[in-house]
Point group: C2
Chain length 468, copies 2
C-alpha cells in the first residue's frame, strides 16, 4: 500500500465536482486545500466553470495538464463508477470518494460499491471511502475534507477510522479547544479500499506520528489487522475505540458503514495481545492522546499527588488502586520537605492534602514545597497536582510545573483543574497545555491517563522507551 503516502503528501490534487458555490462540498474541498496552504498544484474540475476560488478550472480529467497524484471525487454516488473508469483511463492512482449511499445503504448501495471497486481494483487505483469525509495532513499543508475547516497547526497525533467526525467536528474541536496537535487524519468511511490495517502500517512507520488514535466498527480481515496493530503498537501508542459492544450498537453499525461488528470479546483479546490500548469512548481517547503527546513515559507505577482538597486525594487514590498505579509512601527527606509548609498537626502523606498548608503558608508556597518534595522522591515516577480554581488558590501554575519539569524532565506531570471558576479554568488549561502539561477536569481522568502511560511503558517484550 505504498500509494498511501500520496493521500497525505500528493504533489498535485484534482477535485472533481469542484464548485463556485459556497457551501457546496465541491467548493469546500477546494477552499480547505487553499486554507491549509497546500504548496502543490490544485486542479478544480468543472465543465461549466473556467475559474474556481482563483484557480484555473478544467472541464474534465482528460483536460488536465498532468496526471494528479490524488483525486477527490465530489459526485453523487451514481456517477462514481463512471468517474472511476475515467480515472483508470488517465492513470490516476489515488481517489477519495466522499459520496455515501453505498454499502451503508442496503442492497442497491452494496451493488454500486462493488461496481466502483471492481473498476478500481482492475486499474490498480487505491480508493479511500466511499463515505469518506476526507483527510488532513498538517505536514503536507493539505485538507481534503468536505466539511469546512480552518487551518490547523502541526502536531504528532494522528487519527483515523470509519467516522467522518475526525475530519470535521473533531478536527475543529481540537484546533479551537485543545492544545495537542494533529499530524494526520483519514476518514475511511465504508473502507471498501483503504482500511485500518493500511493506516496502521503507514502511520506506524510515519516519523511525524507519535500517537495513533483509531475508531473502528469492526474489521474484516482479523488476521491482517492483528498483525498491523501489533506492528504499530510496538513502535508507538495506539488508542483504539471500537463500537458495537451491545446488540443495539451492532444494529446501528450495519446502517452506518455496513461493517460487521464481530465479537467484542475477540476484539478485546486481539487488541490486548497486540499491545494496543483500548479506550471506552472519545473522551478517553483524547485524554490519553494528550498525555502521550505531551509526556515522557514514566519509569514506574509510583504517582505523587498534591491536592488542594481531600476529596482530590481520595478520588486519585481510588483510581490508582483500580488502574495498576501506586502511591508510594514518601521517604523521610520528602516528608521533611512537605512539613515545611504544613501546620504541625497536619498529617503528611501521599496523596498530600495541602489545604491546611494553603491556610497557613499560602497556595504558592504550599504547592511548591509539597510538589517539589514529592517529585524529588525516587519512588515517585509521575506527579499529579490538583487545583480548584477559587481566589484562594491563585498561583503561577505554569511556573510551578516548569520548575518541576526542569528538575525532572523524565517524569510525567499532569494537572487537574477540578471545578472552580470557568474563566480561570480555561485560562489555566490553555496556559498549562500550551507549555506541554496535560490538564484534566477531574482526578480520575488524570490518573487514567498516567496509568495508560505506565501501562504502555511496562508492556512486556518491547522497548518503547528507546523510541521516545
Amino acid at each position: 500500500m505504498s500509494g498511501l503516502e500520496k493521500f497525505f503528501y500528493p504533489g498535485s490534487v484534482a477535485v472533481v465536482g469542484a464548485s463556485r458555490a459556497r457551501g457546496k462540498a465541491g467548493n469546500t474541498v477546494v477552499a480547505n486545500i487553499l486554507e491549509f496552504g497546500f504548496e502543490g498544484e490544485v486542479f478544480p474540475i468543472n465543465p461549466g466553470a473556467s475559474e474556481i476560488l482563483g484557480l484555473r478550472a478544467y472541464p474534465g480529467i482528460s483536460d488536465l495538464p498532468k496526471t494528479p497524484d490524488l483525486l477527490v471525487a465530489v459526485l453523487p454516488r451514481d456517477m462514481t463508477a463512471g468517474l472511476m473508469a475515467e480515472c483508470a483511463r488517465s492513470g490516476i492512482e489515488n481517489v477519495i470518494v466522499p459520496a455515501a449511499g453505498f454499502s451503508d445503504a442496503g442492497v442497491e448501495g452494496r451493488r454500486l460499491e462493488e461496481e466502483v471497486m471492481s473498476v478500481a481494483r482492475r486499474a490498480g487505483i487505491t480508493v479511500m471511502g466511499p463515505n469518506s469525509i476526507g483527510t488532513v495532513c498538517t505536514g503536507g499543508k493539505l485538507a481534503t475534507s468536505i466539511v469546512t475547516l480552518d487551518r490547523m497547526r502541526a502536531g504528532d497525533v494522528s487519527l483515523f477510522g470509519q467516522t467522518g467526525m475526525f475530519s470535521s467536528g473533531i478536527a475543529r474541536w481540537i484546533e479551537t479547544e485543545e492544545q495537542f496537535r494533529i499530524s494526520k487524519i483519514a476518514c475511511l468511511g465504508n473502507k471498501a479500499g483503504v482500511d485500518e490495517s493500511d493506516l496502521l502500517e503507514y502511520l506506524g512507520s510515519d516519523d511525524d506520528t507519535r500517537v495513533i488514535g483509531m475508531y473502528t466498527e469492526g474489521v474484516r480481515d482479523g488476521r491482517r489487522f492483528a498483525q498491523a496493530l501489533k506492528g504499530a503498537a510496538a513502535r508507538k501508542p495506539v488508542l483504539v475505540l471500537k463500537s458495537g459492544n451491545t446488540e443495539s450498537g451492532v444494529r446501528a453499525i450495519s446502517s452506518h458503514t455496513g461493517a460487521l461488528a464481530g465479537s467484542d470479546d475477540v476484539f478485546s483479546g486481539l487488541a490486548a495481545q497486540a499491545g494496543a490500548l483500548r479506550v471506552a469512548d472519545f473522551e478517553e481517547m483524547f485524554d490519553l492522546a494528550k498525555a502521550f503527546s505531551f509526556c515522557p513515559l514514566p519509569a514506574g507505577p509510583g504517582v505523587g499527588v498534591v491536592s488542594i482538597t481531600g476529596v482530590g486525594c481520595v478520588l486519585s487514590a481510588d483510581a490508582a488502586g483500580g488502574m495498576g498505579l501506586e502511591l508510594p509512601s514518601p521517604a523521610g527527606e520528602t516528608l521533611a520537605g512537605m512539613r515545611e509548609v504544613l501546620p504541625a498537626w497536619a498529617p503528611v502523606s501521599n496523596p498530600a492534602d495541602i489545604w491546611a498548608g494553603i491556610e497557613a503558608s499560602g497556595a504558592e508556597a504550599s504547592y511548591r514545597a509539597v510538589a517539589g518534595a514529592l517529585i524529588d522522591d525516587p519512588s515517585v515516577h509521575s506527579l499529579v497536582a490538583i487545583f480548584t480554581l477559587i481566589p484562594e488558590s491563585r498561583i503561577d501554575a505554569a511556573a510551578l510545573f516548569g520548575s518541576l519539569r526542569e528538575r525532572h524532565p523524565e517524569k510525567p506531570l499532569a494537572a487537574v483543574l477540578m471545578a472552580g471558576d470557568a474563566r480561570m479554568r480555561l485560562e489555566w488549561k490553555q496556559e498549562l497545555e500550551s507549555s506541554g502539561i496535560p490538564a484534566y477536569p477531574w482526578p480520575e481522568r488524570a490518573m487514567r491517563s498516567i496509568a495508560a502511560l505506565w501501562k504502555f511503558a511496562d508492556l512486556p517484550g518491547s522497548d518503547y522507551r528507546s523510541v521516545r
Copy 2:
C-alpha cells in the same frame, strides 16, 4: 434534628473570628454572607474591632444583643472546645466548625474532637464539622463558606457531603459554567455532629430541593443511613458518590476525614435497595443532576436519536444496550416523516443518521423533520439530538427544542454537542441549558443521563412521577 433548618434559614448569624483582613477566612465568611444578600442579622465577633465590612462588631458572644440562630466558629482547632463551652452558656444551638486538625489528624486530633463534641452534646448544640467549609442556601440568601463565593442564583439541586469542594470550587464552577442551579449545600467535614442521615432526612422533605447529590467516604450508622436514604430516595432522586472503592482509596480516606470506608459491596447493595442512584464520579453526578433538574421523567425506556454523524448513532446505540434503554423501530408514519428530508437511497431508522439529509435538504429542515417525526412516535419516550458544531450544521437549536417540547412536554429532551468549534459549543450549551435542555459533550453521557431518569421512574413500589 429539627435544628437543621437554622443552618440554612437562620434569622441571625454570628461569626466568631471575624476579621477585617481581606483573604482571612474570618473575613471571607462575613463577605459571603453579605454577598449573598442575607436579610437577617449578622454579628461579626472580634475583640479588637468595632466594625467589620460595614457591620458593627462585638467583642464576644456574651456581648451580642441576642442569641444568634447560627454561629460560624472561625478559630484554630485548639480554641474550639473553649468556644463551644461559651456557646453552651449563651444558649446557641447551631454551630459550624471550619477548623481542621481533628479526627482528620491522628490521635491528638481525635481527642480534641471528642472534647469539643462532648461539650456540644451536653448542651444540645448541633455541630456541623469540624473540618466543614460551610453552607450555601440560595433561598435563604446565605453562604457561610470560608472560601470566597460570588452570589449564586437559586435552583433545585442540593449537595452535601464530606468534601469542602461543594461550598468552594464546585459552587463556583456551577455558577460560572453550568446552567442548573443550587438550592442548598452543606459540607459536613468530619461529620462529628451533623451527618449524611440528617441531611437526607432534611432535604428529603425540603420543597425547594428536587435533586440531591451527596458525597461520602463511608457511613457510621449503616442502619440509620439506609433508612434515611430510602426515605429521601422515595421522594426525589438521590445521586450518591461513595469513595473508598480500592485499598489505596481507603487509606487516603482515613487521612482526609478520618472516616471508616466500610465495604464497598455492602454500600452498593444498600444504595440499590434504597432506590438511590450510585454514580461513579463527580462528572456523572452533575450530568445526572442536570437531567433530573431540567427534565420530566420518561414514561418508558424508548429513546429516539437523531444525529449529524453515524458514529453518534452507533455510540448512542451501544450505550443504550448497556443501560436498559431501548431504541424502538419507528412506526410507519414516523418513517414517512423522516424520509421527507432524506435522499431516496438513505436508510431510515432509529438512531437516525441525517448527514445525507443535511447535504440534500439542509441542517435546519433535517433536524426538524426527523426529530419531529421521532418525538411524535408513541414508542419514543425521550429524545436525544446530536450535533457537531461545524459551519454546515448551524441551526437554531433552541427553537428546535422549544417546538419539540411544546408538542411533548412530557418527554425528556437532551442535546449532545459533540466536538466542533469551541466558541459555538459554549454558546449553544448556554443557550440550550438556560432554556432547560441539558447538553452533553458526548453521546454516551447523554444516554447515561436519560437512562438514570428512566431507572428512577421505573423503580418498583414507588410513585415518583406523581411527585414531579
